[in-house]
């Protein structure tokens, strides 16, 4: 096995056509073409629009990544690709490109889990991913707490959202406040000028029997409804909606619940490390609150750079490189794209 496997990773699970190249723990390229602007006018991702954009962007993105990394294709040790979870029609574009590239070059192909990749990308930040560790993954489609014992073959989901994902709540609240899609970055920006304690929005599943039954689970649907009611009430009384305060108070409620449960998990299950990942981990308040609370609890917090938190190809390459260095079997030629691939399947057989 090469010490630093050179792996190209392809990610097309949602609206980013992304290609990353890594050599072991070194990031060589992280190239992204996004169709987000095409979706903004619809207020959400339109799967067929995303899939069409993936096909158009695939070869140009591959080209740019190879140029950035300064590698030639025959130098690669393997190809990795997101096999799921994600949008079915979008995933197959990446999976088919990866298989074809593997066949053309005579290189092994690893179909990998998108969520495990979000954790694996932490290994590109200068030191290997700590194992075992707890991981909090928060994005537009997921809000999960994981126990990661071995990134390649032992990830156990301990909690997840029972309704909306955190990123979904950001999108919906942004729409309520008249902010553009995607909601996360816009709410983050507007919230900078607001008071996070102005409105006491509910923290879902954090008390009484809910906490017993859903110890490590999340719920953001009630929070979204509470924000909607508050805004409606405000408008009904003819008052101007204090957008910055609403955004800051909403963001505080989300960050509070996420961090509270993640730190609780670390304390109760004895994890020394917490890894944050997914698009919502780019949120500035979530990052600062997590830093503060982890320090208080004696937990070492690891958060990838914002550009590696959102969907990217480097994270896929990082997990692929780990799989190569640990001698994992490549995927078969006929492995499928699985839109609801469970998080405990890190590699496709």
């Amino acid at each position: 096995m090469p010490d630093e496997p050179l792996v190209l990773g392809i990610e097309t699970s949602c609206d980013e056509t992304a290609v990353g190249i890594v050599a072991g723990h070194r990031l060589l390229a992280n190239t992204i073409a996004s169709s987000a602007d095409e979706h903004a006018r619809f207020g959400g991702i339109v799967p067929e629009v995303a899939s069409r954009a993936h096909l158009e962007a695939m070869v140009p993105t591959l080209q740019r990544a190879c140029k950035t990394a300064g590698i030639s294709l025959p130098d690669l040790d393997a190809i990795a690709v997101t096999a799921g979870p994600g949008l079915a029609g979008a995933l197959v574009v990446g999976v088919s490109a990866a298989k074809s590239l593997g066949l053309a070059l005579g290189k092994p192909v690893y179909g990998v889990n998108h969520l495990a990749s979000h954790v694996a990308v932490d290994g590109l930040s200068g030191s290997p991913v700590p194992e075992p560790a707890a991981a909090l993954l928060v994005s537009g489609g997921h809000s999960s707490l994981l126990a990661v014992t071995d990134l390649v073959d032992d990830i156990v989901p301990l909690g997840a959202t029972i309704d909306d994902a955190a990123g979904e709540a950001f999108d919906k609240v942004a729409r309520l406040l008249g902010l553009p899609f995607p909601g996360g970055p816009h709410i983050d920006e507007v919230a900078q000028g607001g008071d996070p304690s102005a409105i006491d929005f509910p923290r879902g599943l954090t008390g009484g029997r809910d906490l017993q039954r859903h110890r490590y689970d999340f719920s953001f649907s009630g929070l979204k409804t509470a924000v909607a009611r508050w805004v409606e009430q405000c408008r009904a009384e003819g008052r101007q909606v204090p957008v910055a305060d609403v955004a800051a108070s909403f963001q505080e409620a989300v960050a509070d619940v996420l961090v509270r449960k993640a730190v609780m998990l670390c304390s109760e299950q004895g994890f020394d490390h917490l890894i944050l990942g997914g698009g919502v981990a780019a949120n500035s308040r979530l990052r600062s609150l997590a830093e503060q609370k982890c320090e208080g609890a004696g937990v070492r917090l690891r958060i990838p750079a914002p550009g590696l938190c959102t969907d990217n190809g480097a994270m896929v390459a990082a997990l692929g490189s780990l799989a190569v260095s640990r001698g994992a079997q490549p995927s078969e030629d006929d492995f499928p794209a699985e839109s609801s691939l469970p998080v405990d399947v890190a590699l496709m057989s």
Partner: protein, 207 residues
Amino acid sequence: MILALDTAGPYPVVAAVSAEEDILFAGSGERTRAHAEDLAPLLREALSCGEPSAVAVGRGPGAFTGLRVGLVAAQTLGWAINIPVAGVCSLDVVAVQFGLSDGWAVLDARRDEVYLAQYQRGIRLDGPMVLSKSGAQERIDDQPAVGDTELLRQPDRRARGGTSIDPNALAAVALVACQSRSPEPPEPDYLRSPDVTWSAANSGRSI
């Protein structure tokens, strides 16, 4: 050797053909809606027959998700080993497969519509296009038609499994395309805009 592939129909189809027009490999998948799974094993077999000097790929019309599987595979392969990639109209393959000289090639487009193209002495004259079944019947009238023609006679029914592309016919069309001085681009011929409805847009957020 020329590598040819098409994923516009219900099954992926792959052929490898030598410059002397010998078919070195011809194969099809057997499962519907499994292009992403079943194309790669066929490609591996085809590539074991020799080094391709060009690729030809079906650009549809056909079901969007399947169509993209073949197109992205062909584009990526062509880029990786630096060989030209030509697009072929999947209806041209149907015309060749049924030995059509003058008339229409027809494929199921679902939603009470058909894809079709018109041929004269084996050359495409018009199309590809997508029409309602009744509109297609009107255009075709009493001219010969091949492919999913039962749809036209029984407008309320779907084609039984649909016409399967014959890899040998694909190889023949691919040879011509790869020898052409101005081949069609290896890009999809969707013929339809993406369906965007507000309800879909509102619930489409993912990952």
